[in-house]
Amino acid sequence: MNIEGYEFPEGLYYDKNHFWARVEGDLVVMGMNQYAQKMAGTIVYVGLPPEGKKLTQGKNFTKIESGKWLGKVFSVVSGELVAVNEELERKAKLINEDCYGKGWMFRIKPNNLDELKNLMTDPEVIREWLKGEIAQHGKK
């Protein structure tokens, strides 16, 4: 679905820190949404923590950088980090090129999938939230 000029594919969950979540089997995959990657500019670095790291929903656990911008990465669910996208190590720009596909960032084994209820799926809810973000940060 296109919301305010940005793609927010259906079937994903979206948090207010600009990350998305997708359920794949018993894992949750997360990445950055299109608005955020455009605002960030060319991404050159994503911190890739070791597998096994314990994560908490809404808590930051690593960072992401473009040339001069630094952002925090917040977990979409509580659980254990089981995989990182190692392609991002040499080509962090994949997040800009294909943020919902090849630019996925982390795979998490969730403690409780019910936590996904805390994320947004309704297009109108996402729209209102995104409008607020655009008002505050602008758009690209």
Partner: protein, 370 residues
Amino acid sequence: MPDQIQFDEKRRKAITQCSRCGFCRAVCPIFELTKRPITNARGKMILLKEVMEGKLPVTEGVAQALLRCTTCMNCTVNCPSGVDPQEAFKAARKDMVRMGFDNLFKAMGEIVEKYGNIYGEKERHDWGHKKNGAPYVLFVGCVGTYREEESVEETIRFLDLMKVDFTMIDEACCSGVLEDVGYKMKDELAKRNVRELQKIGAKTLITTCPYCYRVFKEHPAYKNLGLELKHITQFLKDFNFGVKTEKKVTYHDPCDLGRHAGIYEEPREIIRKIAPNFVEPRRTRDNAMCCGSGGGLRGSFPEDSIEISRNRLSQIIEETGAEILLTECPSCVHNFRNAKLRKQKIEIYNITEFIAQLLQENMSGARSEA
């Protein structure tokens, strides 16, 4: 508004003196990465010669080519004709801006003016340590404060452990970087820094960032500072730390500390005290390859910047087999940490940060024995 690049006598001489021998290619971090002639000093000097002789118009392409340089001075140091290409490029960048070819650093200038730092960060970490009467004042700069906060915390903790009586101020960006990318330093920020530094009553200014060190030392805006100036390695070189590591340690010379400021020995004197197993990379001292973060490249060509850093890190690992890479520059540390691959086990620190950790390990070891 001038409609051409100004080729004064000094610049004409540099351009005609360049024999286009290409020695600079062997030491240029961007040429090493791209293999494109225009990215290297020789290529840019040819470009400027063509512009000077009226054979090439000044275009956005020329402006972009001139931005693609870390100003590391490796070309300068290795030029058999005695040319300083990076000075010519910095001067040409200013002309390009005056001619209307603004670059992305125009926005950075506005950000620096509004927020007092190069990143536009609204919240400043309060390091505490503010007091009158301390003989030393520590200035950490933007990269340390906003990109390598933990490293700065360790450096501060280290100075406390060494019982250094120091204070800090509410810093504004030294803003010297704007001069390198075509713009002017923000005089009001410089005045604010001078005011705060003079008010605090210290006698010696210690910087952790080599770039800030150079700006304080060389820029006219800071000429009336009235404080003795030291890079932290100059300050610490005569200290005894009481700790050692058995690990294999190497050192990367930051361009701003080494080639630009001539500070090579002091970091090594410190490292030799703590690391009996200290090895130098093959390209070291005034021949050290750049980490890729300087001259505005991290902002203007960030992917190049990280790749250059990755090349330098791989070079260091291959040449030394070191377990620990030390440097004393927040920009170098930051770029290396961004560039490091997971499979590369080398640990990267500022010297002060590393010694703080050794001291901590020492204290923890002593406590557990007690």
